[in-house]
């Protein structure tokens, strides 16, 4: 329930009617609960991502919005109308499927025109709208090809055009870039962002790729196990995760579960089970001693040096146990003398004195830590 409060609190405007709203939605498949008592509001014009590991229920949510599944309990509203029992073909949304689901017996043009013809639009208007959609996705030269004659990226564009040509109130995108290779994916992310800006309609995208979600979305809902863990802007999610799951799922992090044993005005000291003492920023409301919390610190916030640093804050001795060269960065795992393994991300600078088993110091400011509720 706490998450729900967060979600509405972060919504950009309070008075506009949400384009899509889920109220207390429950979805079960037999004994299996896919989505539990979920509330969600997506505002007009948002690029809203639902992010989570596979099996977390995110695709089920999208399918309930599209109308391919109906909620076991609760309501789905689109532009204020309860559509829980409205079949897919009468909902003002269009979907871009993960597999594209292009009609392989039709040309690109006929695929795109399908929705318009179903709505019995005049042929001249169909022609104009299809031409416009083809132009938007830059597929004009391919109009007369069949899907089997297109590359994956081209098929993706056709799938987009086929959905957006209908000018839906909401575009639903189910892992739209999941089948593309890394380079094409980056390129399509830019195109998706451009399309969203040009069309100004609400996009709801389901993805398991955090980078994609962070780079494209105006807001992100992080899901786990059928529930929303946190809803917020990309920086909310990344810089201020509310739960250990979100902190861990969005980017790498080092988590120190422990107990508060000292409370200072601006800081608290936490002791982990292995006895490591970590300084973290004070919490609101103020932490009480002996409270169980989790301290999180991002790998890129940790500094690494060969000699003892003079700075305040957290500083520990350890040994490099793994070293991975990532081009722009070095990815190290440092084993502390207390036993914890820390992931550290260092800019790739020329020093290059690091090697496995090198004794090092790791240190970071208390302010760089985040304090999370213990799950």
């Amino acid at each position: 329930m706490a998450q729900t409060v967060q979600a509405t609190a972060v919504a950009p405007t309070t008075e506009t009617q949400p384009d899509v709203e889920l109220r207390q939605v429950l979805k079960t498949f037999g004994a299996e609960v896919a989505v539990r008592q979920l509330d969600l509001r997506v505002q007009p014009g948002e690029f809203f991502s639902i992010l989570g590991p596979s099996g977390c229920g995110k695709t089920t949510i999208l399918r309930m919005i599209a109308g391919f599944e109906s909620p076991t309990a609760g309501e789905v509203l689109i532009q204020g109308a309860n559509v829980s029992r409205v079949p897919a073909h009468r909902r003002p949304v269009n979907t871009v499927f993960q597999s594209y689901a292009l009609f392989d017996h039709m040309t690109v043009r006929d695929n795109i025109a399908f929705g318009l013809k179903i709505r019995r639009m005049g042929s001249a208007q169909v022609r104009d709208r299809v031409a416009e959609a083809l132009r938007l996705v830059r597929m004009e030269p391919m109009a007369n090809r069949y899907p089997a004659q297109l590359s994956g990226g081209q098929q993706q564009r056709v799938a987009l055009a086929r959905a957006l040509v209908n000018h839906p109130a909401v575009m639903l995108l189910d892992e739209p870039l999941g089948a593309l290779d890394q380079k094409l994916r980056k390129q399509m992310q830019v195109e998706l962002a451009n399309l969203h800006r040009q069309l100004g309609i609400t996009f709801i995208m389901v993805t398991h790729d955090q980078e994609e979600a962070l780079s494209l979305s105006s807001r992100i809902a992080v899901m786990n196990n059928g529930q929303i863990e946190q809803v917020g802007t990309p920086s909310d999610i990344y810089d201020r995760p509310h739960t250990p799951f979100v902190a861990d799922f969005i980017g790498d992090t080092n988590l120190f579960p422990g107990r508060v044993d000292r409370v200072y005005p601006a800081q608290v000291q936490v002791t982990t089970e292995s006895g490591l003492r970590v300084l973290a920023p004070a919490m609101t409301p103020a932490a009480s001693p002996l409270q169980n919390i989790v301290v999180s610190v991002r790998p890129e916030k940790i500094n690494l040096s060969l000699s003892a640093p003079g700075s305040e804050g957290n500083c520990y001795q350890g040994q490099v146990s793994h070293l991975m060269y990532l081009g722009t960065h070095l990815h190290c795992v440092v084993r502390l003398s207390s036993g914890e393994a820390l992931t550290v991300r260092q800019p790739n600078r020329a020093e290059g004195a690091l090697a496995v088993d090198t004794p090092v110091y790791v240190h970071w400011a208390a302010a760089d830590c985040l304090v999370l509720d213990a799950a």
């Binding site: 897919a88 073909h89 269009n94 499927f97 597999s99 292009l102 017996h105 297109l150 209908n166």
Partner: protein
């Protein structure tokens, strides 16, 4: 002047006629797959050889053709002996007008083919076509819902059992099945007992074309269901979701997506049933009585009936072979779209 089949037992003429005859009497299930594999056989070894980038010396290297020849050789010999040669023999016999076994006959000519143009034979051909087209349509109309239900709606765990149950009749003799229908359709048979019991008027369907349609549809429905099932099972139901997403009602989705998607299956099933029913002998003979002379019964009568007009029978056979070959050509052209559209 030449005499057919009268050159003493064991002569070349004898062997030719025996071979032709053996082919004519081979059951459909044996010849049909042979027909179907022929084009494959013809095209397979061509593929590597006709590739334009390979120099001639390379193309003729034994390692290029030895494998295909060894693998396809036995089937090739089989086809040559049981399909190509007999067909040529039938063609030759068909070109001898008025040929009767054991009797002297004249030279070659088209008389046998011209004889087919007589109204009475054209009616027989028309009747055969109507039997074939009618029972194909019936099979399609009756078989599609069954295949659809089996492939998309039946409980997954029972699906194979249901499918086997449906095609089980195929494992009994077609003759026995047709014979069983005479017991059902005769005026005092099972059907009329039921009709009378529920207050429907009794029907005298046995020995009418109606009985032939019923028998043919029953006999070949499992083939249709099997082929449609295979096609519908491959149907990507996400396409139906996509259609619904784009505003198509289930009805529109069915006609605009499901049907076009399984069209190759519909074409394959229909052509197979059409080919089989066009040449079926047992059902029209047992159920159709005097009112259902079709082309295969007519051919049978030319070879085994009192007239023994082998030349005319061979001409009719060539016509049937031509019709079947055309159907198979259509089957190969439209039966599977993946062979038609080349990837980019």
């Amino acid at each position: 002047m030449r005499e057919w089949g009268d050159e003493g037992m064991g002569g070349w003429g004898e062997i030719r006629i025996l071979t032709a005859f053996a082919f004519l009497t081979l059951p459909t299930f044996l010849t049909l797959p042979t027909f179907l594999t022929l084009p494959t056989f013809l095209t397979l070894p061509m593929a590597p050889i006709s590739s334009p980038k390979i120099p001639w010396a390379e193309r003729l290297a034994p390692r290029r053709w030895l494998g295909p020849v060894v693998m396809l050789g036995p089937a090739g010999v089989w086809l040559l002996l049981l399909l190509v040669l007999p067909t040529l023999l039938i063609l030759e016999i068909s070109l001898v007008p008025g040929l009767r076994l054991g009797q002297p006959s004249g030279g070659y000519g088209l008389g046998n083919y011209l004889q087919i143009l007589q109204p009475v034979y054209l009616r027989v051909i028309g009747r055969s076509l109507s039997f074939a087209v009618g029972s194909t349509l019936l099979c399609l109309v009756l078989g599609f819902p069954v295949a659809y239900w089996l492939a998309l709606m039946s409980p997954q765990r029972w699906r194979n059992l249901l499918l086997v149950g449906f095609i089980l009749p195929l494992w009994t003799s077609s003759l026995l099945r047709a014979y069983a229908w005479t017991a059902i359709l005769r005026p005092s048979g099972v059907l009329n007992t039921i009709f009378t019991a529920v207050g429907l008027p009794a029907q005298a369907w046995l020995n009418t074309p109606t009985a032939v349609f019923i028998g043919l549809t029953y006999s070949f429905l499992p083939y249709m269901v099997l082929i449609l099932y295979a096609s519908l099972e491959k149907l990507d139901t996400r396409l139906l979701e996509a259609a619904a997403d784009l505003g198509a009602t289930p009805f529109q989705g069915f006609w605009k997506i499901t049907i076009p998607q399984v069209l190759p299956g519909i074409a394959a099933g229909s052509l197979l049933v059409f080919i089989s029913t066009l040449g079926d002998f047992v059902v029209p003979t047992l159920l159709g009585g005097a009112s259902s002379m079709n082309i295969s019964r007519l051919i049978y009568n030319q070879f085994l009936g009192p007239t023994r007009a082998w030349g005319f029978g061979s001409a009719l056979s060539m016509l049937l072979i031509l019709a079947v070959s055309l159907s198979i050509a259509l089957l190969l052209r439209y039966g599977d779209k993946s062979t038609v559209t080349e990837p980019s």
